[in-house]
Amino acid sequence: MTIALRVAAAFVLSLCSLAQAQEPIKIGVVLELSGRFSAFGHTCETGVKFASEVWGDTVAGRKIEFLYNDDQSDAAATVATLTHLISQDKINYLMGPLSSPIAAAAIGPWRQGKPIWFVPGGSTTTIEKEVGPEPMFFHTLPYAYHYYKTITEALKYQLDTTKKKVAILYVDDNYGRTHQPLAHQYFTQAGFEIVAEEVVRANSPDLNPVLTKIAQTKPDILLGIGQTTDSVTLAKQLYTRNLNIPYLIGPGSTQLREWQDSAGEAQEGWIGIAYYVPGVVNWPANKDYPRVLPSTAEWEKMFEARFKYEPNYHNLVCYINIMQLLIAIEKVGDDKEKVAAEIAKMDLMTPMGSGKFAPTGQGTLNQSFKDMMVFQRHNGKNVLLFPAEVATGKIAVAPR
């Protein structure tokens, strides 16, 4: 090859790499922005957009491009959307979906390109079994078994649980069917007696028959497993029936503002779990990245000033996950394997506590934010019951 040709080839190659270096870094954001789970999707979207505003529009010298897509809370739409993002847009980084059935639907297309994948949700253990061991998969909120492990530990901390009887009411959908066996397992292991297990149809308008049957078994504890819609119906109809069940537990929905507002006075005494409770724990600012990972109080102030409402856990965890991703890209560049390795080893203090990833011991290689708080609704506010270091009160019998 002549020298001129070699110089020309080198020039063309350098132009190509320059062009690639100018290409934005694409981050796919696939969320439930419509359909049944849109409430979750929109809160995460807000967290991602807030992170994008706070960080800025470049990382590692390149523009960042967030590709927002609506999975419509629908499995088929999720597959189509994700397939396009991975095969056409060639994304290396993916946030969402959040809800268990939709995240499970995303597994197939995800495998086509295996971008780094943050799932801040998806409590079903199906996801853990399918993709937990994958080094590109980062699960950033608890699995279902974490819920019941924490709840039973909290009950043992607060109560004499000897011979306590538990009734489980669960909804016949993906969420209820996933959680019920784990609830049964962990409550049994913790020494509780399961005296009733009743399934109800999703969106059932009348729970009176089930409640009447449960009341007959005289449980000390009622565990109601369902999505928010069914949890509202349960709380209202249970309160109206005036059943003498001392302790009421709603693992998923009790922490949500919409459940609390819809249940009204029926919320009193319900016990729930929370990954984050605004204004309760103030984690310090990250010493290396205080601007993007401030203290909890500072972050809450920033969020409320920007959006004019109190944040919830999805706003926060999605914000944190994006910051973790951008910090890793900033450090090691746009190399998927290097970024994944960097995220896996980072131990960042965040407004939700330590963001360190570690194996669950049940199949997921990279799990963060699995620790939860247990609280009870007293006079329209959360009283923290567990863990001991954050507890602000004692468990009380639900008012009737």
Binding site: S34, G35, R36, F37, S38, A39, H42, D172, E198, V199, V200, R201, N203, S204, P205, D206, L207, N208, P209, V210, T212, K213, Q216, T228, T229, D230, V232, T233, K236, Q237, Y239, T240, R241, N242, E258, W259, D261, S262, A263, G264, E265, A266
Partner: protein, 291 residues
Amino acid sequence: MNFIGQALIDAILLGGIYTLMVMGLALSFGVIRIINFMHGEAIMLGAYGAYWAFALYGVDPLLVLPLLMMLGAAAGYVLFKTTIAPVLNAPHENQILLTFGLGLILTNVALILWTGNERSSNPPYTFASLNFGDIVVPVSRLLGFSTAAVLIGAMFIWLKYGELGRASRAIAQDRDAATLMGINVPHMYAFSFGVSTALAVASGAICSFIFAVTPFMGFDMLVKGFAIVILGGVGSVIGAVAGSFLLAFAETAVAYYVPNGNGWSEAVAFGVLFLTLLIRPYGIAGRPAAG
């Protein structure tokens, strides 16, 4: 424990709500001969109307119900004139797709306006109950049943004695003969659709304090409603009442006496429908098709 008393109360109260839910559907098919796939969304919008009246202005859902019904009737009339009337003589598939599409639009407009967050109105009687020994009667459901009974009774009186009610029945019996008798059929179609919508809105308002309100609540009700209408006999208002109570009793009995029975209630609905159609292919109070 003997469940029979509580089961009877639960079934009766549920039957009343089902009846109000499907009465409009039965009316729209009986008179206009269209299958209205956006009936569920009318229920949903009625529920939201009652919720917002309570949340923003503190107005009880049962007090705002007449206003909501009037608004629903007007909206139904206008919607019929502008979108459904043009396809009245089109194939049924076109009508189904049109109303289904309109229903989807309404669901997504509600989602955009109010998000998917659950809401529920909680007027003072929401959590009250009357106790008769072991039997508990929730006051909210009793009031809902009573309101439904009044509205259904009023509708029957209107159909039997009212000028426009009799005109609706005439059209349902024989459209051509009704035209020859001087009845303004296009106007009556729109009017009946408005009444149908008003009844759906009323049932939504009652549901707003019994369970959660979301943009997606209409579809499940629509499916149940169609099962009841077919069970009762398509186009028969009496049949709709019978079908509602038959279904309510069947679901409640299964919920009480079959292990995990509440989880089977959807299957019960369609099982009862299947069995009834085997014995009476045109439903409880329907009539065989002509020829």
